[in-house]
Amino acid sequence: MDQHDANRYSRQIRLPSVGEHGQQSLLDARCLIIGMGGLGSPAAMYLAAAGVGQLVISDFDRVEDSNLQRQIAHRSVDIGEPKAISAKRTLEALNPRCRITAIDWQLDDEELADQVAKADVVLDCSDNFATRFALNRQAFQSGTPLVSGAAIRTEGQIATFLPQDGGPCYQCIYPGDLEGEESCALEGVLAPVVGVMGSMQALQALLVLLGRTAGLAGRLLLFDALAMEWQSVRVPRDEACPVCAGRKAVHDGD
């Protein structure tokens, strides 16, 4: 870490839970973020600002007028641009030292598996169940921690899944083939709700990179914005889960 970085990240380095060693872990890290919409925008911006060295951002949609109310990585001049490209510009302006790889096409299974395996942590900021289940499978296949967030209307959910700890996965909470998909386009969403959840995803990803996962393991957080309440639900592993059952915890030195 040079003087520039030591100064830029000084307010984080000052924290006993981060320190120079922790900040160096962030500078050395590579995060994959799937979706550059309402969740992915703040998540990527906080990770870039906090000094994560490399971000791979994936989205094949283009910026639309109706996205701008909540997808804060994009601006009015970006309408019609691929979201991955538009977000890359925002992130590079925010932190020129952060290396951004923009993927503006739909990843096939092989490409997704490759990207998940290369990442130190994956953030699921997608807007559909098919992607959520596919990412969960890939994360557990490669042993990559997964921070899964979702938000709609005035509510949100977030959970971090830690394959190496022998913890539960997304499919332990919701068995596959979900019916009744809802979209923000049809249901609506209050702008800062995705900001709260996306920022929380960035925070949980940083905790993973800092090795501070004790508070994350086996927990699902539910946010009710109207009531201003959070609920924390303990998630046991489903012993019959087709994705994670039988997986053993991997400890250093094993």
């Binding site: 997608s126 169940f129 959910q157 919701y174 809802e182 539910l222 639900v233 303990r234």
Partner: protein
């Protein structure tokens, strides 16, 4: 008596359940859901499939721990417990 709470979106479909404290006799999850259905007809159709198992996008917790038995809903909800009903979100 256990208390029942749920994700706010469910009140949209069952407004009769909103703004009231729902307390029911202790029992198994399936018994409590049946009791909610008495207050809000159609509720069990929304959360259970035609075989009486929990629908895939629905989940329940008892005192903030997810229920184990999704198929027959035999988990016991004790007197001092809160049964919370929530569902998967896909938006992002």
């Amino acid at each position: 008596m256990p208390t029942v709470a749920m994700t706010p979106h469910l009140y949209h479909f069952f407004p009769v359940l909103e703004n009231r404290k729902i307390t029911l006799a202790a029992g198994s999850v399936v018994e409590l859901l049946a009791a909610i259905n008495e207050i809000a007809p159609g509720f069990t159709d929304y959360v259970l499939d035609d075989r009486g198992a929990l629908r895939r996008h629905v989940n329940l917790s008892i005192n903030n721990t997810m229920v184990v038995d999704r198929k027959k809903l035999t988990d016991h909800v004790p007197d001092d417990a809160t049964l919370y009903i929530f569902q998967a979100l896909s938006g992002g």
